[in-house]
Symmetry: C2
Subunit: 344 residues, 2 copies
DNA sequence: CGTGTTTATGAAAATATTTTCAAGCATTTT
DNA sequence: AAAATGCTTGAAAATATTTTCATAAACACG
């Protein structure tokens, strides 16, 4: 494979000049530039990333650390990041912390020692810790958290307005005539768990509905948890008449539990989910859902990262908040309607 | 950040010796080794991957090129690869060709110029082309294709027995009393499309059922295609009594179309899908499915790649075929049973 | 005890690039 | 015309590692 020296010889200039042409780092004569570019094409030269990264202490790779690669929401997010990375001619190292703080730390170390140019992270914990953060800061490797906020200062975040998403979902259920609305949410140690619960509470309060702690359950983001929590809720004595699920995998488990209890949606119980899923387009289910712009989230996070990379050190901390949207489908039909149906 | 020279000074040996300790590349005295290891720990030294890769012309990164990152099947596969990569202390560059040959080529170039140690690829086309392949061969970068075969010689493959998966699925439908069984499959330019269609045909032939080309449809692997093809099939005059779907996204569209036609599964039409999906565990759907060991597939592919890396050049081409398993659920209930139900 | 052999270690080359510093050349100024 | 300025270019240093080659020490064997 051709190297810079061969390009230099081929076009009759020095290595330095070729480098300047490659990186646009200084003025070079127009015809010299053209000659060099011709040689690059002729020899099919591609700069050696290792040598580059050795010299500059920075690679053309960005790290993407996801908390659960199984979740389709993050898939869309990854796609968004990937799209921008490709456009900017960066590659992506993908890591999956599996919601495991230890693994997150391990991968942070990997990214650091790989000299990634920057990192986009869905944090598992509420803070990275000063030690880790300082390492990255010291080498000026920008970090952008996405989907979830982190308490450490100076870390950018690109988020969806979880509070608003949940609040609108619940307000919609209330407006549709449901009044004993339960909620299952993710872990309260994570902003996407906490904020959605908070939105649920706000909506109830705004509607003047007495808050009942028994109707709130939270656990990890997976289907088994969704099933377990929903089963608990379905045992309650004054039965609930609607369920809000704060995550797509939780929704999956919830639907399963509801089905196991021989209840129908929305006839017996109204339902609103969070996050798109493959099956939410399945018309037989027709689940009212708070949709999140996952792809956009990834794209914006990547763009933010590239702002840092193009203008290192000069960026004030920034928090971008995108809007969710409530997609109303059959699972939250106004209560009167199916009550009429039952009577008929 | 500490470099090898500082470690050398700290432990009072030469750079070469530290390198030998790091790579186990030659014998070094036991107490010297211990001293060096202590220094490494004390200085928290981590080798610079760029310098390494510059010198050895090979990184500790493996490329993973997936054909559709949206598909949950590939998610599991990625997880399998990731797990093994982590164990072997390799990182993963993730690329998504989106079933687009051009993008595939683009990413192959990226992987090559990133000097990945090896690549695991879900190929979009039936061959990579000699030019590309030679580049990789020349630098001894092993390639393992996964899930799909490729016609080029010398390329390892880790596959699932698609023919058998489909044949068993259809045989099961036949045994359950269905006789007018239609099939929707992926593109015939890809082994996962072609082999599953072939399995369908074989099963019919073995059962002595007349083959009807009108019952076979194929298209790209996505829900919209599944919907369209199924709608065509549902219009047929002697109506079909069962549907085999050769991919999880196709299944999604198929179910949608079936629902839109107000047909019920399995009462009006029997159904078998392919690949797990999040919602196939949803008991209300209860879809009989050909399950693929996606995680295992990724793991095995990674292991195979590491065999190449540990013993370069010494590996004969190998094709590993894993077995699918038919998980029988409600959507393919024996026909007599629900016919009885209808009469009752 | 001397010679040949093995073993452990170090010095230095090599890897491909960016970047600093110096210098050449042309143009402008005095 | 000499000096100064500005622009373009090249030489060489620097980056962190692996690896080859040389060497010194230890060891074996006659």
């Amino acid at each position: 494979m051709a190297n810079i020296q061969q390009v230099a010889k081929h076009s009759g200039v020095s290595i330095s000049t070729v480098s300047r042409v490659l990186n646009n780092t200084a003025k070079v004569n127009e015809d010299v530039r053209r000659r060099v570019e011709a040689s690059i094409l002729a020899l099919n030269y591609q700069p050696n990333p290792a040598a580059r990264s050795l010299r500059t202490n920075r690679s053309r790779i960005i790290g993407l650390l996801i908390s659960d690669i199984q979740n389709p929401f993050f898939m869309r997010l990854i796609q968004g990041v990937e799209e921008e990375a490709l456009r900017h001619e960066y590659s992506l190292i993908l890591c999956n912390s599996n919601e495991n703080p230890q693994r997150e730390q391990q991968y942070l170390d990997v990214l650091y020692s790989e000299r990634v140019a920057g990192a986009i992270i869905v944090p598992v914990r509420e803070r990275f810790g000063e030690a880790t953060l300082n390492k990255f800061r010291e080498r000026q490797i920008p970090i952008v958290t996405v989907d979830r906020r982190v308490k450490d200062k100076d870390v950018d975040a690109v988020l969806v307005d979880n509070l608003r998403g949940a609040r609108e979902a619940i307000a919609h259920l209330i407006a549709s005539g449901y009044c004993r609305i339960a909620a299952i949410t993710g872990p309260l140690t994570v902003t996407t768990g906490r904020d959605r619960l908070e939105g649920y509470r706000q909506a109830l309060q705004e509607a003047g509905i007495q808050h009942d702690p028994a109707l709130e359950r939270s656990g990890t983001f997976d289907a088994a948890t969704g099933r377990k929590l929903t089963e608990e809720l379905l045992e309650l004595d004054p039965p609930i008449d609607a369920l809000f699920s704060g995550n797509n995998l939780l929704t999956l488990g919830a639907l399963d539990a509801i089905h196991a209890h021989n209840l129908r949606v929305p006839d017996d119980i109204g339902m609103v989910g969070y996050d798109e899923t493959y099956w939410s387009s399945l018309s037989s289910l027709s689940l009212t859902t708070v949709m999140q712009p996952a792809y956009e989230l990834g794209r914006v996070a990547a763009l933010r990262l590239f702002q840092h990379l193009q203008n290192p050190g000069k960026q004030a901390r920034q928090e971008v908040v995108l809007a969710p949207s409530l997609e109303i489908r059959g699972s939250s039909l106004p209560k009167e309607i199916h009550q009429l149906k039952v009577k008929a």
